[in-house]
């Protein structure tokens, strides 16, 4: 079991409300990712769930039991920290054994569990080394091993891959996803990297300024963002926003078009502009196009795109792929092109 329910949870530091009243239901066995920009409250909420931060008001239920005032150790959760937080004076073996020793588990069982976790995480050869003698990836595996042996009802990951280099991050991302599949335990994963969020999550909660803007599957957030913030945060490169003249107070103020939804034409299109910087990634190309009246727009093209700096091009996007946002940034669903707004440069 590993369901976690947050009911009207808040957190304040003095007069500053870091987490505003918030409800969230995390299902048993689910991999949920908290994503958002720095300072949005995602790590604070994770620490509140862990019991490392007090909850100002509201309740946190773990497996339908009120855990709001429980000390961290009694919540049955395990946490993996960004800085690994290994005990530097202990060997890998003792690091992994530490939570079991605290729980006064039989030494023979501790040994069995260590061997099993080490085998699972490819750490068997390093069991007698100190953390200082390991690479970043190995240290992170030790931290995960220390979490696994406790057989917690949920794992909490606080930006665990931030300190790793790019290639190692991709590997560890896969390893954590595989671990989730094999353990089938609830995982809450905090990151500011939306690629990590999209690739790993069953569901994503997008945080902004202490509130959850939207919770949903990666594709839901990508295809049906509830507002301009979520639309801009999910997707890489980020969505292009083009300001338009609304025809009424609740009409479209901004259009949102993802770089991959543009079609480049040489003859005519809704927008015309001049190609600026070109980024060739091999499999795809990102063009930064200076569009008259709309600023710089990012366009995704094929890997073998032959356009050059300064070329004049025209851009079009299918109506159903263009998103509309009102003056508050809230998504206006199912509008067709030109409905509720005028685009002066079109």
């Amino acid at each position: 079991m590993g369901s976690i329910t947050l009911k009207q949870v808040t957190k304040s530091f003095g007069d500053v409300n870091v987490i505003k009243p918030l409800d969230l239901e995390i299902r048993d066995g689910e991999f949920i990712v908290f994503v958002g920009p720095s300072g949005c409250g995602k790590s604070t909420l994770l620490r509140m769930i862990a019991g490392l931060e007090d909850t100002t008001s509201g309740t946190i239920e773990i497996d339908n039991q009120d855990a709001t005032d429980m000390p961290p150790a009694q919540r049955g959760l395990a946490m993996v920290f960004q800085s690994y937080a290994l005990y530097p004076h202990m060997s890998v073996r003792n690091n992994i054994a530490f939570p079991l020793k605290q729980a006064k588990v039989d030494p023979a069982i501790i040994e069995q569990k260590i061997e099993k976790a080490a085998k699972m995480l490819n750490l068997t050869a390093y069991l007698d080394r100190k953390p200082g003698q390991l690479s970043g990836g190995q240290r992170q595996r030790v931290a995960i091993g220390r979490a696994i042996v406790r057989q917690p009802s949920a794992f909490l990951f606080d930006e665990p891959l931030s300190n790793l280099d790019a290639s190692l991050r991709v590997n560890m991302r896969l390893e954590i996803s595989e671990l989730h599949k094999s353990l089938d335990t609830t995982m809450i994963y905090v990151t500011h990297d939306q690629v990590e969020a999209m690739t790993m999550a069953d569901r994503i909660a997008v945080f902004n300024g202490g509130i959850i803007e939207q919770v949903g599957t990666p594709l839901e957030l990508y295809q049906k963002p509830v507002n301009q913030f979520v639309a801009g945060f999910i997707g890489s490169p980020k969505m292009n926003f083009i300001a338009v003249e609304p025809t009424s107070d609740d009409a479209t103020c901004t259009l949102g078009i993802r770089p991959e939804h543009f079609k480049i034409t040489e003859e005519s299109g809704r927008w015309s502009g001049q190609v600026g910087v070109i980024e060739h990634l091999g499999s795809e190309t990102f063009l930064h196009v200076n569009v008259d009246g709309a600023g710089t727009i990012t366009v995704k093209a094929d890997g073998d795109c032959k356009l050059a700096y300064g070329d004049k091009i025209h851009l079009t996007a299918p109506d159903e792929k263009i998103m509309h946002f009102d003056k508050d940034g809230v998504t206006i669903p199912s509008l067709s092109w030109g409905e509720g707004c005028t685009y002066s440069a079109a």
Partner: protein, 276 residues
């Protein structure tokens, strides 16, 4: 040119360093040399640095005249006792200040340190009266208490600085792993902070060993440490320089040896936290 300049400046720096070291060490060297002179050579108007009749009679007389080992044991008990008792109080204090900070933690630390700026003579009368009323005058336990109180601010400050260097996440990980406060401190914090704790202990042993103001005032015979033993050679009958020097050498040699062997630890300890 650049290499020449570097060599020249290196030579100047080396000479300057040796000169300063020589100036600092000279009084100690002079004391050591005087301890091997006769009393008449020690007060001679034209003292010789090495060309004199070397003698051990001062040491023999000092050892026969005063119970050196009693004073030595008093020094050991007082300095070690005060340092260990101080650690016992300073570790939890520094832990709470480093890891459970409040708005007033910094003020409290500054206030603790400011007590070190108070001249000891300012609290002489109340402490003397308290010691008299509680029967602590000329007792080892009394000296241990006063030395602990004197050095506690420095101990808390030093430990606080070490503890601040330890990432909070490690202690949080221990909490998540089921450790209580006792396990968190004894199994995680203390082993990690061991170098810092060792240098705090060493420095405080040295400070307590060398402390003379309170030891001279609060002791007479039974609990008198080596500082009182040295002072006893400045008597109403006059100063006996050679014997005073012999007594001084015997008093400082144990702590010099300790300092020599632990200098690496002390330097590391004192500069801990200065550069990240």
């Amino acid at each position: 040119m650049a290499i020449k300049d570097t060599k020249k400046s290196k030579l100047i720096y080396t000479l300057a360093a040796w000169s300063v070291s020589g100036m600092i060490f000279f009084p100690i060297l002079w004391t050591i040399i005087t301890s091997f002179k006769t009393e008449s050579e020690a007060i001679s108007a034209s003292p010789s640095l090495f060309m004199f009749d070397w003698t051990l009679e001062n040491y023999a007389e000092v050892l026969s005249r005063s119970p050196y080992f009693d004073h030595f044991m008093n020094s050991v008990v007082i300095s070690l006792g005060a340092s260990l008792l101080g650690l016992l109080i300073a570790i939890p204090a520094a832990w709470s200040m480093a890891f459970v900070q409040t708005k007033r933690t910094k003020n409290l630390l500054m206030w603790m340190l400011s007590t070190k700026m108070l001249p000891p003579v300012g609290v002489l009368i109340p402490i003397y009266l308290l010691f008299r009323d509680f029967g602590l005058l000329d007792t080892r336990i009394g000296l241990v208490i006063v030395m602990t109180l004197i050095n506690l601010p420095i101990m808390v400050w030093m430990l606080y600085t070490y503890f601040r260097e330890i990432p909070n996440e490690i202690l949080e990980a221990a909490r998540m792993d089921g450790a209580g406060i006792k396990q968190e401190i004894f199994q995680v914090l203390l082993p990690i902070a061991l170098p810092g704790i060792a240098s705090t202990l060493l420095l405080n042993v040295i400070l307590a060993w060398n402390e003379a103001f309170w030891t001279l005032i609060l002791t007479a015979a039974n609990a008198a440490p080596l500082t009182a033993f040295i002072a006893s050679y400045s008597s109403p009958e006059g100063l006996f320089y050679a014997k005073l020097s012999a007594a001084s050498v015997m008093a400082v040699v144990p702590i010099l040896i300790l300092g020599w062997f632990s200098q690496k630890q002390l330097v590391r300890g004192l500069s801990f936290g200065a550069v990240k």
